[in-house]
Each structure stands twice: as C-alpha cells, then as structure tokens.
C-alpha cells in the first residue's frame, strides 16, 4: 500500500497541479514508478474519467467562488452587471474599522474557545462512558446524536421558544418556585452568548462523542487490559493509556470545532435574526456578512467580509496544522491498519 502522508505538505501550489490533474490529466508525462505498465494511456484515461467529475464539480463550486470572493472584494458592487467600481482596499478598511465587525469577531473567538472548553470534557467523558459495556448502550448512542441530526432551524426555533421571556424555561423555574432566577435568556446581552453556547453544546456535543467513540474503537483492548493487570485503576487506565491514544482524534475534533465556530451562522441568524444579534451580543462574522452584504445589497462588501473570514480560518488552520495536527493527520489519514470491515 502506498502512503500519501506527504500530501498535506504539498498544499503550496495546488493551482499549478490542479491544471495538470484536472484539465489535462491525460497528458501527465510518464514518471518513474513501480509498474511501468501503469503509465499507459488507458490508465490516464481511467484517472481522468474517475476523478474528473469530482474535480470539476469541486473546483467550479468550491474553489472558484472563493477566488471570485477575493476578486469582488475589491469592488463596490450591487450584485448584478459587471463589477466596474474598483475601490481597492476600501472595503477591507471599512470592515476592519467597523466596531460591529470587531464585536462580531470577538464573539467568534469567545465561541471558539468556550466550545472547546465546554464540549471537550463533556464529550470525552460521555465517550468513555459509552465505550463501556452497559445495558442500553446502543439506545443511548442514538439519543445523544439526535440533536446533531436535527436541523439548525428546528433547534433554533425550539430553543428560542423555550428560552424567550415567557417560554418554558422561565415557566419551569416558576414552577420550582425560583421566580427570581427567571431571565431574559435571549435578549439580555450579558446572558445571550451563554444561552447560545448552551444551545451549541447541546447541538454539537453528540458529534464530538461519535468521533471520540470511533477513535476509542481503534484503541486495542489489550492495552487497557495489560495496564489493568499491572494494577492500574480504571481512572489510571483512562488517563494514562486511553486518553493519550485518543489524542489525534481529539486534535481533529478541536480543529473542526474551531473552524466551525468561526463560520457559525445558522443558529444565530435563526434565533436572533440579522439585527437583534448585534444588540444581544451574539453576532458573528457570518451574520455580519449576510446582514451587511447580501441583505444590504452590497455584494462587494459582503465578499470582502467573506475573504477576511477565510483568511482567519486559513491562518488558524495553517498554524494548527503546523504545530498540532501534522502528526495526527498523518496518522489518521494514512494509518495502515484502518478500515477493517466491521
């Protein structure tokens, strides 16, 4: 089996190679390889026919729009006709000087950090719990993943009905005789972001649990058993044997979680709408982008916001990969013993 562990490092010049593999795969010059037979035109045709459709769709609808965003970001443009009003970096200057944007960015950072801090321990604990033999385990696994399967719209609607000032949450507190604990969960600027974090945790912790469970299944039982025989307690086994081995999975989850936090849109937009989110202190870069871009008819401006979001994500991703992820993606993506038919 050939390993492609080097692939993430070749990301430097994807565009050049993209032309070579996408548009022109059949013309790839023969290179040194193990099986000279494999360079035949037939093989090249197979590669083009199999990978071509995916590449074309992916490049047209993922890469091209991102490139277009970079282009339109330099224009003042209302979204129709050719963009002619070139404004240089003015959009970017306006965005970075806009307090509303800085505020939104700050919320994104808070959400990213607290999502890790809150969801990580909960998810690890639940995954360890569910990794044990217990009755009803499969039912619990399904139930914990339920929020992840429910659409953001349903989640947002349900939670906003529950948390509004005359909603079920306050009603429940009153029933318990705790009237003085009732709050404006959604509109109080000091509380709203915590309500959002609660909803985010509820919605996405299941995904983390499933990832960790998958990771735990890849850890051979023999290791824990050997440690147990050597006299390690259950918690010692988890802390010293299982958790370190789960490290790569945790890193991948944390990466996905951070990137997701910086792109957060649906829940905020559904619960708070485009205007209320800024007064409630829950606006994000994405809601800022939609409110000030598309909804305001300033597509050039919206694209510039998108570019900033992309750059922030890219920088985070590169730093993360550079310092944390490299070894684990190598492991995760090229692991030799994976994918046993289970």
């Amino acid at each position: 089996m050939t390993s492609i562990s080097d692939s993430p490092r070749i990301a430097r010049a994807p565009h050049v190679d993209l032309e070579a593999t996408g548009g022109d795969a059949t013309a790839t010059p023969p290179v040194r390889r193990r099986k000279p037979r494999g360079t035949s035109w037939r093989t090249r045709l197979e590669i083009a026919a199999l990978a071509g459709p995916a590449l074309i769709v992916f490049v047209t609808f993922v890469i091209l729009p991102v490139a277009l965003a970079a282009y339109y970001g330099f224009f003042s443009w209302a979204g129709y006709g050719p963009a002619t009003d070139f404004v240089g970096l003015r959009n970017y200057v306006t965005i970075l000087q806009d307090e509303a944007f800085i505020e939104a960015l700050r919320h994104n950072v808070i959400i990213a950090v607290l999502s890790l801090v809150i969801q990580g321990p909960i998810a690890i604990g639940l995954a360890l719990l569910l990794n044990r033999k217990m009755r009803g385990q499969s039912v619990i696994r399904v139930l914990i993943f339920v929020p992840y399967v429910i659409s953001e719209v349903v989640v947002g609607l349900g939670w906003s009905l529950m948390l509004q000032s005359n909603g079920a949450a306050n009603g429940f507190l009153e029933k318990l005789g705790l009237e003085n604990l009732t709050q404006d969960w959604l509109s109080d600027p000091n509380l709203a972001i915590w309500s959002l974090l609660l909803i985010i945790t509820w919605k996405y912790v299941g995904f983390a649990v499933i990832l960790f469970l998958a990771g735990l299944q890849g850890i051979p039982d023999e290791l824990s058993e050997a440690a147990a025989i050597d006299g390690a307690s259950y918690w010692q086994v988890q802390r010293l044997v299982v958790l370190p081995l789960l490290g790569p999975t945790i890193k991948i989850w944390a990466f996905l979680s951070i990137i997701g936090s910086f792109q957060l849109f649906d829940l905020v937009y559904i619960i708070w709408g485009q205007y209320v989110s800024s007064t409630a202190g829950t606006s994000t870069m994405a809601t800022y982008m939609v409110a000030n871009g598309r909804n305001a008819g300033s597509y050039g401006y919206g694209n510039a916001v998108a570019v900033i979001m992309f750059l922030i994500s890219l920088i985070i991703a590169l730093l993360y990969q550079r310092f944390l992820l490299r070894r684990s993606t190598d492991g995760a993506l090229t692991e030799k013993k994976t994918g046993k038919k289970s």
């Binding site: 089996m1 070749i10 890469i63 659409s151 719209v153 009905l161 998958a214 147990a228 289970s342």
Partner: protein, 282 residues
C-alpha cells in the same frame, strides 16, 4: 477480551449505578427540547401561554392533522427529499470514484489532488456563499433545486474523500493482484471488489451527506426565494414567522419536519461509528 472481562467487571460494579444515573441525566437533557417541541404540538395555544412548561391537558391532534393535510408541508418534504437523495447519490458516486483514484493509482499530482480536496475542509460554505449565489444566478439556477444540489455535492466531497481514501487504501493489494491475474481490469476491480467492500464507509458518508442536505439552511436561503421551491428548513422558518401567534401549530410543523432525518439516522447509526473508525483513528 471475554476471558478478562470478569475481573474488570468486578471493579466496575461499585460505580455502575452512578454510570447509569449519569447516562440517564444526559439522555434527559438531550431529549428535553425535542420532547418540548413534540408535546407542544399536542397542546393548545392558550395552554402554552398560561403554562409554558406543562404537559398537554387534553391531547390535541388537530395541529398535527392540519399540518399533515396541508399541501405546503408535503411539497417541502418532497423538495427536501429530492434534494437530499440526489445529493447523496452523487456525493457517494463522485466521492468513491475520486477516492479510488487517490487510493489505488500512482500518478504525478496525486498528492496535490488529495491536498486540494482536504483543503476544501477549510472552505465552509459560509465563506463562499455570496459568490456562489452569483455563480448560481448566472447559471440561471436560482429557485431550482439543482441550484442547491450541485453546490451541496461539491461541498460534501472533501469530507467524503477524507473518510473514503484510507478505507480504500486498506483493501489488500493482494486482492487487486489476484483480480488482475484473473483478467480483471482496474475498473473491473473497482466495480466488483471495491464498491461492495467499501459498503460500510459508503453508508457513513452517505448518511452524513443526506443529513447535511436535509438540514441545509444557508444555501437554500440564498438560492431559493420562491416558496414553491422551499425545502423544509426554509419552510419551517417561513411557517414560524407567518403563524407566529399559533405556537402550537408551529411546534407541530417543526416536529413533523424532523422525523425523516431522525428515522433515517437511527436506522444507520451503528454504521456511522464503524465507518468513521478508519478516518479518525490515530
């Protein structure tokens, strides 16, 4: 494993009640909002106003029946189903083909191709949505499901490929060689061996693609402005703002809209964990 289970279980027995208690609490917390939505659909609006956190006094099935009898609901279910099924089919087909190339062919530019697809993980739809909307508009696909389906396929490909490639790499080379000796071409090997063998991973990526499409909100929000083309998430939101006074009916509509994804998921839940094992294992 079984031989050693006995001593382990003994040391666990102390904490077992705690474990079950924690599990129960977690399940309760997870289910409360869902139960709230479902039960709310069985109540009347005055009940909800007077006692927002109560149980139905008299179970009203009228709200649910109204929703089930409305054309709007079923049209949106159909739109969501068409979009999710077509998306899933193409994500699996294109993803499997591309992953096969990445996993089993040796050619220049393979590393770059793989890097390109994995880089796609960093391009969530939020970043690309504005130009994507313009692109779709220029293609004349606004207000059509195709305008939602095609970008969804494109954005689902990175995850699909990241999950499938290690899976396909794990198919032993000997199998391929044996097939070649028997006169099977590589394409033949793909159809006869790879497709059946990768069923577990295919189910995983298929479910993820289906759920993502079923729940997709941002893309339809931009692409679909005509109510006839609405998918369920947009429909739920439109319904909720139009009948904002009729909370009970909104809740009934909402709970009916989440059933298909839940059923679909619970049928295949086991497979998701199995299929992800290859992709996240360190």
């Amino acid at each position: 494993m079984t031989a050693l289970a006995a001593p382990r279980r003994r040391s666990f027995s102390f904490s077992t009640p705690i474990v079950y208690f924690v599990a129960l609490v977690v399940v309760g917390l997870v289910l409360v909002p869902v139960v709230y939505i479902i039960l709310g659909g069985f109540r009347t609006n005055s009940e909800i106003t007077v006692d927002p956190a109560g149980f139905p006094v008299t179970w009203q099935i009228g709200n649910y029946l109204d929703v089930l009898a409305s054309d709007v609901f079923w049209r949106q279910v159909a739109n969501s189903a068409v979009s999710a099924i077509i998306t899933t089919f193409f994500v699996v087909a294109l993803g499997l083909m591309a992953s096969f190339v990445l996993a089993r062919y040796d050619f220049r530019g393979r590393g770059a191709m793989y890097a390109l697809f994995t880089a796609g993980l960093m391009f969530p739809m939020t970043v690309a949505i504005t130009p994507l909307y313009i692109l779709i508009k220029n293609l004349g696909l606004t207000n059509s499901l195709a305008g939602v389906i095609i970008p969804q396929i494109a954005f689902a490909l990175p995850v699909t490929i990241v999950i499938l490639v290690p899976f396909l790499q794990a198919i032993p080379k000997e199998l391929q060689e044996a097939a070649e000796i028997d006169g099977c071409s590589r394409i033949g090997f793909f159809w006869r061996m790879v497709v059946p063998l990768s069923k577990a991973a295919v189910v995983t990526v298929g479910i993820l693609a289906f759920i993502a499409s079923w729940n997709s909100y941002l893309l339809p929000l931009f692409i679909l402005n005509n109510e006839d083309a609405y998918t369920l998430p947009l429909g739920v939101q439109a319904f909720a703002s139009r009948y904002s006074v009729d909370t009970a009916k909104v809740l009934a509509f909402t709970s009916l809209s989440m059933i298909p994804a839940l059923v679909f998921f619970s049928l295949f839940e086991r497979r998701i964990v199995g299929g992800l094992t290859g992709a996240v294992k360190g």
